[in-house]
């Protein structure tokens, strides 16, 4: 049986998404900036994608800027918002469990003279609202937090955070990295009090290399790239029509079947957790996100178990796949206070609506066989 439980890393492209992408290659291959009908045709695909996303976000189409993915969206938000607003202050607040595409830009901003406060999280990976309130200062210009953690699936209290921030000052900007939340839950940034929000296409059955940043109207932001002035001057470079069209379609499909999809993912997650937790030496650190489960296996090196599962057709992840070049243990697991001996014994199982309960049952069966065997051969 082949089981793909690594959907928080990336997902399979849906047939309808592939079809629209092929259209942009075969017929609508024009440059959206061209004046002739080929350009207009291509521009229509981009416009459709933009409105597909803005409809789901209940925002204006002009508030969506297409990018090359979550990483670029986060970089654009962090560098763009701080540089455009640094005259009001140079203090930023974020959390201790952000994705590398947030904390690395923050480190760079520190080098550039900005001050960054990283808030601690509790055992569930959640920020304490009082701590946030206390961290806000006169010169705070930006708060950046992820909606759903990519490693454990914990969900941040985004709307409460926005309340805390905006009650202190309406001028403090709030950026949300929603890469793992987009397509999995309803997100209305303007109602939540979000000023900028990052999204990615390939986590929701769209293509890699597609992403978007929501920026509320009137918010000052500086582009990362200068050039031909595409995307309302915010992201120069010929639009990647193929990726954009694919992301638009993926978004449309994700939200069309949202409730049903979430129900399916929850059923898979529940089956896996219930089954696995009956086995010896298994601990659960999963948050509420429907598509992410984080389990620790006492006395077993995560990478060994990963390859043993792979041998049985099951693809999972140790740490976050995006940082697999750094074999260092997960910063997120450390931040939620996981015991030292479990840091290197934790796997992430992540789901999509394409997974089935049978796959989860099969995985539990494999774990039942593998765990005792692998525990026999641990480091002496």
């Amino acid at each position: 049986m082949e089981v793909y439980f690594d959907n928080a890393a990336t997902t399979r492209i849906l047939p309808e998404v592939k079809d629209i992408m092929l259209e942009t290659m075969d017929t609508a291959y024009g440059n959206p900036s061209s004046k002739h009908h080929k350009g207009v045709e291509a521009e229509n695909y981009v416009r459709q994608a933009r409105s597909a996303i803005s409809r789901q976000l209940k925002c204006e189409a002009s508030e969506i800027c297409f990018t090359s993915g979550g990483t670029e969206s986060n970089n654009l938000a962090l560098f763009g918002l701080t540089q455009a607003n640094q005259r009001s202050g140079r203090h930023i607040i974020s959390t201790g469990i952000e994705h590398a595409s947030v904390y690395q830009p923050l480190f760079r901003l520190q080098e550039m003279g900005f001050e960054v406060t990283f808030l601690q999280v509790d055992g569930q990976g959640r920020v304490d609202l009082d701590a946030l309130r206390e961290a806000l200062r006169e010169d705070t210009i930006l708060v950046s937090a992820m909606a759903v953690n990519n490693e454990i699936g914990s969900v941040q209290p985004i709307s409460q955070m926005a309340e805390v921030i905006k009650s202190r000052s309406r001028d403090i900007l709030f950026h949300v990295d929603a890469v793992q939340a987009f397509g999995k839950q309803v997100l209305y940034p303007s109602r939540l009090g979000i000023d900028a929000m990052s999204m990615s296409g390939h986590k929701i059955h769209g293509p890699k290399g597609s992403g978007a940043l929501y920026i509320a109207k009137g918010v000052k932001i500086r582009p990362l790239l200068s050039g031909g002035g595409q995307e309302r001057d915010l992201r120069s470079g010929t639009e990647n029509t193929t990726a954009i069209a694919g992301m638009g379609k993926a978004c449309e499909l994700a939200y069309r079947n949202l409730a049903e999809n979430v129900e399916k993912m929850m059923a898979v997650k529940r089956t896996l957790l219930e089954g696995a937790l009956k086995l010896d030496g298994v601990e659960d650190h999963s948050g509420e996100a429907p598509h992410i489960a984080s389990l620790s296996f006492q006395g077993i090196k995560s990478e060994v178990l990963l390859h043993a599962l792979e041998d049985r057709g099951i693809c999972v992840s140790s740490g976050s796949a995006c940082s697999s070049n750094h074999p260092a243990v997960s910063g997120v697991l450390k931040a939620i206070g996981l015991r030292q001996e479990l840091l290197d014994s934790t796997l992430r199982f992540s789901f999509s609506e394409l997974n089935t309960v049978e796959e989860a049952q099969y995985t539990v069966e494999q774990l039942r066989e593998l765990l005792p065997f692998l525990r026999r051969f641990t480091r002496k």
Binding site: K301, H307, L309, P327, F377, R379, K380
Partner: protein, 396 residues
């Protein structure tokens, strides 16, 4: 200046007596294999010389880089050809060639003419003097130095006139295929690809074996070994990589033998399996990247213990080299960057914190007796897992 013709110099082949033309045949077919895909070329043999001639467009840098990978070539001389067999034409060519290569810089030179075509009216000595004189007139900055010239201008008078002065250094060694075949134990580290390269340089064809231990090693670790084998095959030519699943043997040793002897016993089984594969595949020897004292399993005592299981010769060309010397070669042959990719960590669970450094053969053999029940079957099964990957230099 566009070069169409290259003189291929080889050294040791010339000393191989009656076998000489066999060696030349092999060298020619090796050159042919290497330049395949770089354009249309013809290889011509002419009185103990090998000429490579471009018959269409080609990239000079790419061609040189490829020829420098051919074992058996000591030097490559880019040649300019003058077809008109008149003194004036040859002289004009010589002046133009020297100016193009060395400009008006104040170099010292010497002309070295060789007339194989006796129909040409001037003798070699005469040519030396005349061309030398005309070159001095053409550029006052140039000076003759017959003892230690900076530039030696060779002029060969055959059915055409060949002019060359620079020699691009070749890889040396002997053409692959003139010295049998050996089985390389390829690990993914820095040393074993270097060892394979060095033995292949002596004309030896290679096969390679990699011991895989899933799930304790990853698919990427295996891909890394495939990549290394491909780089080595850029020199050694096509080779077959055997991937053997070693997990069960490793686990059996881990469970039954003293932990500090694990690595040494594991290596003894790797050697045994490699030898079986070698014999089955027509190899006359094994090659390893071992270097005395580098790690616990490579002390003299450890080498003695691992070597004891082998009946065929085991060649260890890195044996007397320091790590840095091995690294230097791996950088030169371009395996270093791949070798240092960090993929094999999973396997470290089995490594003892304090492995034996001075194993005693009798004790190791006694430890292995604990495996006697079932190990033959495990070895047989491991051999059955042999996955053969055909490695060739170009295919990615």
């Amino acid at each position: 200046m566009e070069y169409r013709t290259f003189l291929i110099k080889y050294a040791e082949i010339g000393t191989k007596g009656k076998n000489r033309h066999v060696f030349e045949d092999v060298l020619c077919s090796q050159i042919k294999r290497h330049v395949e895909g770089l354009g249309q070329f013809a290889i011509r043999r002419d009185f103990g010389r090998i000429f490579l001639e471009a018959e269409g467009n080609y990239d000079y840098e790419d061609l040189m880089a490829e020829l420098q990978k051919v074992f058996g070539i000591v030097g490559i001389c880019p040649i300019v050809v003058e077809e008109r067999m008149e003194y004036e034409a040859i002289r004009d060519k010589a002046v133009a060639y020297m100016k193009e290569c060395y400009g008006e810089r104040g170099i010292t030179f010497k002309v070295n003419a060789r007339r194989t075509n006796k129909a040409f009216p001037m003798q070699s000595m005469e040519l030396n003097a005349e061309i030398g004189h005309d070159l001095l007139e053409a550029c006052p900055e140039w000076k003759v130095d017959v003892r230690h010239p900076e530039v030696l201008l060779n002029i060969e008078i055959r059915n055409q006139a060949y002019l060359y002065s620079a020699t691009v250094k070749g890889a040396g060694g002997l053409p692959v295929g003139t010295n049998g075949k050996a089985m390389l134990l390829l690990s993914g580290g820095i040393d074993s690809p270097v060892a394979g390269y060095m033995i292949s340089k002596r004309g030896v064809e290679l096969e390679a074996v990699y011991f895989n231990a899933p799930p304790y090693t990853s698919e990427r670790a295996k891909q890394k070994v495939v990549d290394l084998a491909r780089i080595v095959s850029g020199y050694a030519g096509r080779l077959r990589l055997h991937v053997i699943n070693f997990t069960d043997i490793q686990l059996a040793i881990y469970e039954k033998c003293p932990h500090e002897e694990l690595t040494i016993i594991m290596r003894r089984y790797m050697m045994r399996i490699a030898e079986k594969l070698a014999v089955e595949n027509g190899c006359q020897a094994l090659i390893t990247g071992e270097s005395i004292g580098q790690v616990a399993s490579q002390t003299m005592q450890s080498l003695y213990c691992t070597n004891a299981v082998c009946g065929i010769p085991v060649f260890r060309p890195c044996i007397g080299m320091d790590k840095q010397e091995i690294v230097d070669i791996s950088e030169q042959i371009k395996t270093y960057e791949t070798s240092i990719l960090p993929y094999e960590d999973c396997c470290t669970i089995f490594v003892a914190k304090h492995p034996v450094t001075k194993p005693i053969l009798e004790i190791i053999e006694r430890s292995e007796e604990k495996l006697s029940e079932g190990i033959d079957e495990l070895v047989k099964r491991a051999l059955e897992t042999d996955e053969i990957i055909e490695i060739s230099p170009c295919a990615q």
